[in-house]
Amino acid sequence: AQSVSQHNHHVILSEAASLELGCNYSYGGTVNLFWYVQYPGQHLQLLLKYFSGDPLVKGIKGFEAEFIKSKFSFNLRKPSVQWSDTAEYFCAVSPNTGNQFYFGTGTSLTVIP
């Protein structure tokens, strides 16, 4: 069965620190990959997505993610976090054959000013 693993459950960083959140998935076929963010009290919003092409994708607010096919990974990065990045981050995978989406458990990021 398809699964998405996010290994970091809760991350606490100081402002200006660098961020990397891990995401691994298990699926044998071609996938589309997503990171969603949920700011406190708000809905899930798309941060960035990968469908094909350059495996390094850039999203909003300075976030980027790299798809490494051999490692089944799609880690999220940001070189310098801000207090406003405090949120829950969800990795999601969608097989290229349909409209199904599978989510990870989420990583809670707290940025200390």
């Binding site: 809905h43 899930l44 798309l46 969608s94 097989p95 290229n96 409209n99 989406f101 990870g104 458990t105």
Partner: protein
């Protein structure tokens, strides 16, 4: 920017009661979804809906659950007889039917269900 709207934002109900959660997807979207997130756990797929019928459902989506698109805009999730373990945040989402593999989910803010 178009958004998915959900009501109510929070509902408290007694075990055994029926609950209906409502969603208004983005108007030109064709695929509709319900997901849920039990506190501290992952976002779980419940059901997807396309062309006025269920296209896919998970093992969570048993006979106690049903979905409906009663008019041209609303998409509802009904839980017939709620259980304690149904307490969760329920997210509605919609996506365009561009082509398989290019869809992006747009989520609503969620409806928090608390079953006592």
């Amino acid at each position: 920017e178009p958004e998915v709207t959900q009501t109510p934002s929070h509902q408290v109900t007694q075990m055994g009661q029926e609950v209906i959660l409502r969603c208004v997807p983005i108007s030109n979207h064709l695929y509709f979804y319900w997901y849920r997130q039990i506190l501290g756990q992952k976002v779980e797929f419940l059901v997807s809906f396309y062309n006025n019928e269920i296209s896919e459902k998970s093992e969570i989506f048993d006979d106690q659950f049903s979905v409906e698109r009663p008019d041209g805009s609303n998409f509802t999730l009904k839980i017939r007889s709620t259980k304690l373990e149904d307490s969760a945040m329920y997210f509605c989402a919609s996506s365009e039917d561009l082509w398989a593999g290019a869809n992006v989910l747009t989520f609503g803010a969620g409806s928090r269900l608390t079953v006592l």
